[in-house]
Subunit: 240 residues, 2 copies
Amino acid sequence: MIDWKNNLRVVMISTRNPLNIGAAARAIANFGFARLRVVNPYDVAFREARSAVGAAPLLRRAEEFGSVAEAVADCRLVVGATSGGGRRFQHPLRRLEYGARLIKRALVQAPVALLFGSEKFGLGNDDLSHCQWLMRIPTVDPGLSMNLGQAVALCLYEMARDPKAVAVRPGKIKPASAAQAEQITAMLLEALGRSGYVNPLTAASTGEKVRRLVRRLNVAAKDAPVLMGMLRQILWKLGD
Amino acid sequence: MIDWKNNLRVVMISTRNPLNIGAAARAIANFGFARLRVVNPYDVAFREARSAVGAAPLLRRAEEFGSVAEAVADCRLVVGATSGGGRRFQHPLRRLEYGARLIKRALVQAPVALLFGSEKFGLGNDDLSHCQWLMRIPTVDPGLSMNLGQAVALCLYEMARDPKAVAVRPGKIKPASAAQAEQITAMLLEALGRSGYVNPLTAASTGEKVRRLVRRLNVAAKDAPVLMGMLRQILWKLGD
């Protein structure tokens, strides 16, 4: 299998703040993609963007172009990213969840360009004319634009995310055994008895209450000996 | 139904750069959440953060606390966000895809706090001791930390995203009818004939080739009259 992630070109057009190019580079590295292209950045010294912690090599390898046509020339699919909806688009608009799936499928075959416009104006009409369709980040208010670095991160995350991971339960805590829970119950009851907490007339029902309480605590296996050590020390101090 | 989104508290601890608090506020607004809490921000003037375009009211309403304990006091579930894996955690670690589902379920019942540590150090041991479990953003290299504003946006997006939207196909283009495609084919063939492109001996096979080519173009219904207008003009200029 070819590495589909290597086929994606993130294309940033007329970006004003170099920190946003840095943030995009960082997201590209975070999610295992590799290629960044910039078209007419506002600040030509964008390669020094500081927010690119750990993404400096990627930023150095970024390719610079004078036009969108050149930046997307080797791509078989060109998609524009938008959080908008305010303007009437000439293009089909696909939600990120579905659009990312289409892009992933296309990436297996050939290079795909994903275009991001400037912070202030988004993609212009000329940029849009290069796009086959648009991908919309599903924000609640289309009038409230997204932070550019966040928009890049969201698009890449949706492509990198693993739908199967929704159902897995990694890192589940191993619970204490019933025997351990019972030991803790007994020690706690003993401590309560020695402290005068337990009324001899209702001792039996107190025992049941404490047992149920300890079961509800859902003590982890590794915490059981710690709790028993605490109780042992308290019992020692309480004496007979 | 109560508004589950209103139950989420995004808690930012010891954030150094006020722009990151602004970016978080913007993401909270973008995805329809409402509440931001800050604990000991480095820059007490964080409410002026400029990157919060459109999120100024939310930033003004942000609550400030002196300790994590106070910031999470009203919550029934406290989760720490991390992109790491470098340290050995005492907590169960859940991937964002699964963790977000658990948080959504909890939000329907009661307030939930989602904790984000500082840009440099992430969540400290004291912060972690308030968490029931940790949620990990699935980056490829756990050693390469995420941009804080992007991390907040990703967690909120995963909660707001609509799993059903993966399969829908909004904005599909209505294709031209077969009759329109045939009209275009006929006009194009006529133009090719008048231009001397068509060899009379192979005219039949050329006709078939052009017909197949036009079908592969997948002309949209609304583009068909435009194309026919272009061809009509060319035919007029070509004359008989």
